[in-house]
Symmetry: C2
Subunit: 416 residues, 2 copies
């Protein structure tokens, strides 16, 4: 009883003192739901419906084709790229929004290997999100003699000591998408550079969740999605960052006409546009892009360091809840305790992760799972409260104690 009271008190106090609490008002969160899956699909920002209604009714419906100029559609990938750039520590003119993360990865990895000719190795993380691994393989098989090496981040330094001079690029995510572990981007980037290789980062699970310093770390290329911590909506366009120093030599595999230096002159041959515009490909999905742009207004006047501090407070508190309420029932946290090694979600291990996830959903707690046995609790400091996390932990405790779940083996489902 004492413990229970004290967790509730702690949650209530932390929420009452939270200077970022009003930011939750920027979202249209559904009633009666504790949404802890923003690391998969961010919730709907209040700014999106009116922005999209305007994009459809006025821009498309009334202004029609003129909107490419008059409503800034043509510049949208670069304008929205710059807005994302501000969230990831990139000065303007180095980030472009559009296409899917998979397509952007193909561009980034293709461009990276082209920038390091004669180096036949492409390093990726065996624990990397599948599409990162598949696209690394796709890029390698288009280059004679290129080989993908799957090296966990913890083993990168020794690997580079032996093979560094043959490595073209290292493609990592700073966040393990299953466990929520955060790797040291600075150290890994520096090790990569010491070997003369390029650092390519997938920031799907990091952008919008914590401060990032792409320019300061001299990252070479980076990609990320728009639909997790950026809250841009389902399948929101992804983005690509390429450091300015690489622009003149940036050789992208998908030379669509939007990346041409003079797209409307309809020249016979492809001449890449100067700057990051050369990473544009085809005509982008404007409605989805403008929804993403509206979603990004959530971050206006938000200090990402404050956001990160609150995120760490939330995940720390949830780990405490887990220790007191869940570990005794056999539900084990796998996310690191060290704040420097913890990203934006907490993963708990239980053999019946699938059944527990569904039982929680029935109680209004939305999380997701990763096969076979990880429950993922995504916190987003823009709207998550400590009290919600405690409630989620209590529901999970009750479900397990009462065996109120289906222990059927986990099955896969269409959720990222």
């Amino acid at each position: 009883m004492t413990t229970a009271t004290s967790l509730e008190d702690r949650a209530a106090r932390a929420d009452a003192e939270d200077p970022l609490a009003p930011l939750a008002g920027r979202f249209l969160l559904p009633e009666g739901v504790i949404y802890l899956d923003g690391n998969s699909l961010g919730p709907l920002p209040a700014a999106v419906p009116p922005a999209l209604a305007d994009a459809v009714g006025r821009q498309w419906g009334t202004d029609l084709i003129n909107s490419w100029n008059d409503n800034g559609w043509w510049q949208a990938p670069l304008r929205i790229g710059d807005t994302i750039g501000r969230l990831v520590g990139a000065a303007p003119g180095q980030t472009v929004a559009g296409d899917s993360t998979s397509v952007q990865l193909f561009t980034a990895l293709g461009a990276a290997t082209a920038l390091r000719p004669g180096r036949p190795l492409l390093v990726t993380d065996p624990g990397h999100f599948p599409t990162d691994r598949y696209l690394a393989d796709a890029v390698a098989r288009r280059h004679d003699g290129m080989e993908v090496c799957r090296v966990p981040p913890a083993d990168l330094e020794p690997f580079l000591a032996g093979h560094g001079s043959r490595v073209a690029a290292v493609s990592y995510s700073p966040v393990d998408f299953r466990t929520g572990e955060l790797y040291d981007m600075a150290a890994l980037t520096e090790a990569t550079h010491r070997a003369g290789a390029l650092a390519v980062w997938d920031l799907c699970h990091a952008a919008g969740a914590m401060p990032l310093r792409l320019d300061a770390l001299e990252v070479d290329l980076a990609v990320g999605c728009g639909y997790k911590f950026l809250n841009g909506g389902p399948g929101a366009p992804a983005w690509l960052y390429a450091a300015r120093r690489h622009h003149d030599a940036l050789d992208t595999p998908l030379t669509g006409w939007n990346g041409h230096a003079h797209p409307f002159a309809m020249h016979r041959d492809y001449t890449p546009a100067p700057g990051i515009a050369r990473a544009r490909i085809g005509t982008p999905p404007i409605l989805s892009l403008l929804a993403l742009e509206a979603a990004l207004t959530v971050f206006e006047d938000v200090d990402l360091s404050e956001l990160r501090a609150k995120s760490l407070s939330l995940t720390d508190f949830f780990l405490t809840c887990a220790d007191e309420l869940l570990t005794p029932l056999g539900i084990t946290p796998v996310t690191p305790r060290d704040p420097a090694r913890r990203a934006g979600h907490v993963a708990l291990r239980h053999p019946h992760a699938h059944g527990l996830t569904r039982a929680l959903a029935d109680r209004g707690v939305v999380i997701d799972m990763r096969a076979p046995d990880l429950l993922r609790f995504g916190v987003n400091a823009l709207y998550t409260t400590h009290t919600e996390l405690l409630t989620a932990a209590r529901h999970l405790r009750a479900v397990v104690r009462e065996s109120a779940y289906d222990p059927a083996p986990p099955r896969s489902g269409p959720v990222t």
Copy 2:
């Protein structure tokens, strides 16, 4: 006077007798505008705003992550692909929607060349839309020894007689995007097949404008955009068709995780899904996809042969208007008179095409131009009337006679 009266009478009669006239009510066309640029950006279908409001407010806002299953987001690319398939003569299970036309072209041309190993030539049209040419070059430079040959459709047969056994694929559009000339898809596909090569068609300017018979012609691969005659909105997702007989061997260059046989099992290696699903790449822009899906409902119960017949009546009538009202002023039609060789827009030549286009816009007639000297009048039988075309011709005549336009040299602008 006689001529004028008779053109007006003809237009009025044709419109009064038009069985498809009610279809215009399926669009939210702006007041006071004659919109003849649907071959660049289709206007807003009335079904789109409520569908998108539901996608945003209920599906994303309330159902959140569950929408991937519960609201059919995961299946959307295949479901919408099949809907498009019905418009292009493709049986279900061969068409997928998503990504841009440029990305789909890269996939189609990459897959086509992989299906014909040992054949080093890729044929494209020197008059093809730029992105088609650029992507053909992009695919060729990733294959050692592959060469792009730019052969006009009229010269294909003699070219194949000399080089056919070395041709992997022929990549054409049935419509010249500048002149509106329609090529003989059946004959060109047959000639390609006689050479043992694959036929890859870009149907951006044809899908939704006329009946197409991909299955019946045994076309191998095809792509198209969603935003011209399909009216799916700015940058609406494109689509890819691959004939079923090629599925098992279809080797796509962009092996994103959505195309995996078991995407949520997160396997170590890429195993392509069976069927057309293997052509999926990354997570698609759902809001833009669902807008496209709503737009496609416009075609429900529409007979594409009737639509084509009306389209030909419209373009024929506009050519007559041009003959009587514009040719005497030095504005020359370049679109073929032969209906079998005329697609969905009419192009007129005048050295001041740019200034005339702007002057027409000031009078509420929206067309576009292609540098240096072509005015494009796009007709869409779903909503265009004969009277509108006569009015447009009269405005153009007045603008030229009164020299009420800026004769500055054409400049390029962001419109496709």
